[in-house]
């Protein structure tokens, strides 16, 4: 992340950026490289949110163990997003249901709320499809991986 340099020319711009994640982790690199952009974008003080739908919900599974496939387990990074002021992770309920998954199957990801004495609050919000559609329609930019 040595190459992060918030752009001086654009310091007055604040956009709503949503990263849309629809693919399972490890089978392809999209989940990991999407997360790398998310981390970088934190340095730019934008209004960042993440959506997990379709197979993207698997990115948040608890207990991922990649030792048998020789790849790096990057799921702990999601837990660190709160430290980067990234607090909005939307998970589509219909995508969970279809896959036989429950909210309990996902990692607990939280942030500390400065306004409430750094109380721990959950970053993941389960939303249904029509809610997610509305949230997407409020974004300035949708980045799909």
């Amino acid at each position: 992340m040595a190459d992060v340099k918030p752009p001086e020319i654009a310091s007055n711009i604040k956009k709503k950026l949503m990263y849309v994640n629809r693919k399972a982790p490890y089978g392809t690199i999209y989940a990991l490289e999407s997360l790398e952009v998310v981390l970088i974008s934190a340095a730019f003080e934008q209004d960042v949110s993440l959506a997990f739908l379709d197979d993207g919900v698997y990115q948040l599974m608890k207990g991922q163990n990649t030792s048998g496939i020789g790849m790096k387990n990057f799921s702990p990074t999601f837990k660190a997003l709160g430290d980067y002021e990234i607090k909005k992770l939307y998970v589509e309920k219909e995508s969970l249901d279809e896959r036989g998954l429950k909210p309990d199957d996902l990692m607990e990801i939280s942030y500390e709320d400065e306004d409430e004495g750094f109380a721990k609050k959950p970053s993941v919000r389960i939303v249904n499809r029509s809610e997610l559609t509305q949230i997407m329609a409020q974004q300035d930019v949708l980045l799909n991986f």
């Binding site: 629809r22 379709d54 499809r129 949708l142 799909n144």
Partner: protein
């Protein structure tokens, strides 16, 4: 405030097409490009669903991609309109944002 949704994969191969359809909002448009154009074919298993969609949303098909796959305007469902790359550009600028269902 509306979104242009692009779909570049065949509905017969991937769920991206259905997922895009499930997330269309008021005023949104759907543009089928690359292998996605095959989803616009008349009388296919997805034709009914797309015809229904075309009643509530604008549905576009990238003509050059359709021609590459041996199809023409007469082969696509009623309600779908053909555009070229210039038309693709216009659709992007006419909508507030673009969502690519990769």
């Amino acid at each position: 405030m509306s979104t242009l949704h692009t779909v570049n994969k065949s509905p017969f191969e991937r769920s991206a097409f259905i997922s895009a359809l499930n997330h269309l909002g008021p005023g949104d448009a759907l543009l089928m490009i690359e292998d996605g154009v095959v989803g616009a074919r008349k009388a296919s298993a997805f034709a009914g669903l797309l015809e229904k969609t075309a009643k509530n949303f604008s549905v576009y098909v990238l003509g050059p991609d359709l021609a590459a796959r041996g199809m023409a305007e007469k082969d696509v469902i009623q309600g779908a309109r053909l555009v070229d790359y210039g038309g693709f550009v216009d659709l992007v600028t006419e909508h507030d944002r673009t969502q690519a269902w990769l």
